[in-house]
Subunit: 144 residues, 2 copies
Amino acid sequence: MHDEALLRKILIANHQKITKARLTVFNLLRSKEPQAIASIIAGCKGEVDRVSVYRVLDLYEKLGIVKRVNIGWKYKIELSDAFLDHHHHASCLGCGKVMSVMENGELEALIEKLSAKSGLTMTSHVLELYGYCYACDTNTKNRT
Amino acid sequence: MHDEALLRKILIANHQKITKARLTVFNLLRSKEPQAIASIIAGCKGEVDRVSVYRVLDLYEKLGIVKRVNIGWKYKIELSDAFLDHHHHASCLGCGKVMSVMENGELEALIEKLSAKSGLTMTSHVLELYGYCYACDTNTKNRT
DNA sequence: CATCAAATACAACAAAATTGCATTAAGAAT
DNA sequence: ATTCTTAATGCAATTTTGTTGTATTTGATG
Ligand SMILES: [Mn+2]
Ligand SMILES: [Mn+2]
Ligand SMILES: [Zn+2]
Ligand SMILES: [Zn+2]
């Protein structure tokens, strides 16, 4: 099923209307991930009001359509695992580029084990890597 | 070396003054971790102004004395690995309790490997587990 | 197409974070 | 110890971010 069809299905199943605001925000999220709220609001300028963006995102979070992910100490929004495969992020502290790190069975298993040991019934987890991408790393080394 | 001596050493090495505000914030951070900014500001009431708390924390972050960690979609502040052993967090979505998950060689090695594969020269990483603690999990199950 | 509730825009508000500046105090100089 | 210098602080004002109230609009339904 393609993304928008799934979105419609989820909205209908939850007795929510399919509106211009909701479709606009959804398509923005599909275009680039993850995004800061400010960036989504900017992308909606003229189309959807600031307040409505917040309300759409609240709904989407409640319905599990989006999730908040932490990039550095700020959060950004991205589509949930129902739309994107489970993954983690590797962020460059130099240029801000965010790369996806795809699921790795060994790692996920280890995280499961860890959570069991910690006494937590884990429902989700977040792993973020920080450092410098090849380009930024090279630049840094070349500086005198 | 005990914590405050290390703090003083770092401040002096960076030509920063040792002030009442900086010591107060530092000791609050030592008392409990991790803490929301609001909680630090509250802990400083009457002692240090709100604005100064922000400025002290900015400095501390720049100097690597504290780091921001994400608990849910909000960040909290805790002392850096120079003061605390490297660890991760397991947070209960029910009651908000945060447990420390101590470093695990196997996991850390795997994360190193992962970052290498992603092409990032990793300088740090964050792993957060979310779920329900034993008490909250039991409560949830007992609900009709 | 008529109906009706849900969703939206806009204004007002509240909370969180930042900036500008006069005053204070930490550390250096004497 | 006292004076000097400037970084650090407190306080007021401002900006930014997020929320709430409500009249109007819009999407679903028959
Ligand atoms: Mn992503
Ligand atoms: Mn911690
Ligand atoms: Zn980069
Ligand atoms: Zn709990």
